[in-house]
């Protein structure tokens, strides 16, 4: 039955079968899954850009969209970080190393990092919103000499909710990245900042000159952080964010992730605030 007469070289709905290599428990609700395609040929020819997403599926349960949060230089696996919330994410959370999943990737657009050369970049990640930040930040850090000053502000509800714990020491000690961590409320043995991201951002007060702001996180955090950036003098075209919508096809046909005439899955998920200003306000 594998023969078909549709004349397509690549069926965008047909996932690659991939094996879960490693499962990392990031927080009580977030796990990261490192997967690799079973088909070596497909794996070797697989490329993507930082910010692009994939449809990860548990066969028999369904697909869900996640950003690939490894930098493209990682040739051994791609990583998805998944917060347990609904039917598919619950099934994903049950996966063990060796299990088979489906992956449709890469989908969507990516961070316009080529245009950021020579500029300072402020990364701001809130909660699970750190996932897209991770991919672009690691990518930029790998090419740090081409950029200006890099800094990260990463906030989570509590120390336990902070994902990528294995990465944090490296980021805190990095020569090319200035890292600030913050949690919402006081917690014992927390040596870093305490406070909501927008407030901490205002305290840090990065200069808007020649600087790009990249922010991802829950809608409410985006809203106030955006306001903070504007207050600091950042222009909307220099504020970059990623959007989330319910998605099915991932290729701009099924009709649910549209924001006006733009499909988040196809034309996004990366948008500058200036681009979003042009789209209907349907958040």
């Amino acid at each position: 039955m594998s023969e078909h007469n549709c004349g397509c070289s690549k069926n965008p709905y047909l996932p690659e079968v991939a094996t879960v290599l490693e499962v990392i428990t990031e927080s009580p609700t977030i796990k990261s899954f490192r997967v690799r395609f079973d088909n070596e040929e497909a794996w070797n020819s697989f490329t993507y850009q930082p910010g692009q997403v994939g449809q990860l599926s548990v066969f028999g349960v369904g697909e869900s969209t996640f950003v690939i949060n490894t930098p493209p230089s990682c040739k051994d696996y791609i990583q998805f970080s998944v917060m347990r919330a609904g039917e598919v994410t619950s099934a994903i959370h049950k996966l063990q190393p060796g299990d088979k999943v489906g992956v449709r990737a890469p989908l969507g657009n990516y961070f316009p990092y080529e245009q950021w050369k020579g500029k300072n970049i402020v990364f701001v990640g809130g909660g699970i919103g750190m996932a897209p930040i991770r991919t672009i930040m690691l990518h930029v850090m790998e090419h740090a000499p081409e950029y200006g000053k890099l800094s990260l502000l990463y906030g989570a509800r509590s120390p336990e909710d902070m994902a990528y714990k294995a990465d944090l020491p490296g980021w805190l000690e990095s020569d090319v990245l200035h890292t600030t961590l913050t949690i919402d409320r006081e917690a014992p043995n927390w040596p870093h900042r305490v406070g909501m991201i927008p407030n901490v951002l205002k305290e840090l007060a990065p200069s808007p000159d020649n600087t790009i702001a990249v922010l991802c996180g829950p809608p409410i955090m985006i809203k106030f952080t955006l306001a903070a950036f504007r207050e600091l003098g950042f222009k909307d075209e220099n504020i970059i964010t990623t959007l989330e919508r319910r998605m099915k096809c991932g290729i701009g046909i099924c009709g649910r992730c549209n924001l006006g005439g733009k499909y988040v899955c196809l034309d996004g998920p990366v948008f500058s605030q200036a681009q979003l200003n042009e789209l209907p306000p349907e958040m």
Binding site: C6, L14, N258
Partner: protein, 417 residues
């Protein structure tokens, strides 16, 4: 007109019956008060009552290319002999398209496929399932003998004998039908059918087309539809008022020849399961509901705004000014509460506060100009809303609409916020 052939009703059904041996022939069939496209056998077609085959279907023929439900991927897994918790999974793609003749759809229906082609076939990703069926299907369209009260193809750049999207267009004339071959695919279908030449019937065909066009109520003069509908986006009150009576049922979207939305769900298990694609509707709250509980379109007004805007503003913005509506009127007739998209579009456009300098000739009118006397209001919710036919000055031989539907030439975006 290119190759014209004449067929008597008997010859036409005989031809269809013959085609049924090599094609799946989808043709209208009466079931209860509804008319439904069904695959029909050679025997059924040979003995079919021609009038029954010419009825307008209750639901659009969209299902010929996009079935209500289809399998995108099947998966099967085998357990490892050593460790049964380990599975080897193989996927299969059941993408198969049967050679099909779609008979008897109307020009609006055929144009519906042209509308669907853009998102399904013209983007960065092509939909192979749709593509395969599209490729394998020959569309034999019936030029409308007359318009329904709910018809408004003339609002969206078309007319009752539009050939766009059809492989063959046939027109009922005295004693039979004149078939006009539009494409090579259509030519191959009539090859060897033994139909007589119909060059002498050109006048009859033109008269039939003109009569059909005249039976259609003139379109209102709506300009800058795309921009004006877009400008209503933040006018929540407008959409709430327009959707007071909406039941949020979604019948409109399922009947629509251009509604493209679907969902993907898995059934079965990893051991033996399948991934299905099925019709979905932007009118249901679940369509955009996110796992977190957040819903960007929580109310029926939000959803109707999206549906109307998609057809008259988002889609044209994305695809060169073409509307994603072919004016078939099924959403109007079959709406349980007679909600009328014409009324919504007209109200959105006429009440818009946007102004345009229309002096520039490049700004072609939104709607193909059927010479309309005083633009009677088709959709005005007034009694006897439909114009008298004699008012609708019959254009003699109507030219096919220059593809320009509502091409908004300048990208001078109206302010949206």
């Amino acid at each position: 007109m290119s190759s014209l052939l004449f067929a008597t009703p008997k010859e036409l059904t005989g031809w269809l019956a013959k085609l049924a041996s090599g094609y799946r022939v989808l043709a209208p069939r009466q079931e209860g008060p509804s008319v439904v496209y069904r695959p029909q056998t050679a025997e059924q077609l040979a003995s079919a009552d021609i009038d029954a085959l010419l009825r307008r279907a209750t639901a659009s023929p969209k299902q010929a290319m996009l079935p209500q439900c289809e399998t995108l991927v099947t998966f099967k897994s085998v357990k490892d002999a050593e460790d049964p918790s380990k599975l080897t999974t193989t996927l299969e793609n059941p993408c198969q398209a049967e050679p099909t003749v779609l008979f008897g759809c109307r020009p609006c229906d055929a144009r519906g496929f042209v509308v669907l082609d853009r998102p399904y076939l013209e983007g960065k990703f092509k939909d192979p399932y749709y593509g395969a069926r599209r490729e394998a299907t020959v569309i034999v369209t019936q030029a409308c003998p007359s318009a329904f009260a709910s018809c408004f193809c003339n609002w969206v750049g078309s007319h009752p004998s539009d050939k766009e999207g059809s492989d063959i267009l046939f027109t009922a004339v005295e004693g039979g039908f004149v078939l006009e071959v539009v494409t090579d695919k259509g030519q191959a279908l009539v090859e060897g059918a033994g139909f007589a030449d119909a060059a002498d019937k050109v006048a009859d065909v033109e008269a039939a087309h003109a009569a059909a066009a005249a039976s259609l109520a003139p379109a209102p003069e709506l300009t800058h539809v795309m921009e004006k509908v877009a400008s209503r986006f933040t006018d929540t009150e407008f959409w709430e008022k327009e959707t007071v009576k909406c039941l949020s049922c979604g019948a409109c979207t399922y009947l629509c020849p251009t509604c493209q939305c679907f969902t993907i769900t898995d059934e079965g298990s990893q051991l033996d399961g399948r991934r299905l694609r099925s019709w979905d509707s932007c009118m249901t709250p679940l369509f955009t509901l996110e796992t977190s509980g957040h819903n960007p379109r929580p109310s029926k007004a939000d959803r109707m705004r999206n549906r109307v805007s998609h057809k008259f503003s988002f889609y044209p913005e994305r695809y060169d000014g073409f509307f994603s509506c072919v004016g078939c009127g099924r959403c109007v007739v079959s709406c349980p509460v007679s909600l009328d998209i014409r009324h919504m579009v007209k109200a959105a456009v006429e009440g818009s506060s946007l102004t345009f300098d229309d002096a520039a000739p490049a700004e072609s009118p939104a709607v193909e100009a059927v010479p309309a006397p005083e633009a009677p209001a088709v959709a005005e919710p007034a009694p006897e809303a439909v114009a008298e036919p004699e008012q609708a000055a019959a254009p003699k031989a109507q030219k096919p609409a220059p593809k320009a539907a509502p091409r908004a030439s300048s990208k001078s975006k109206a302010k949206k916020r």
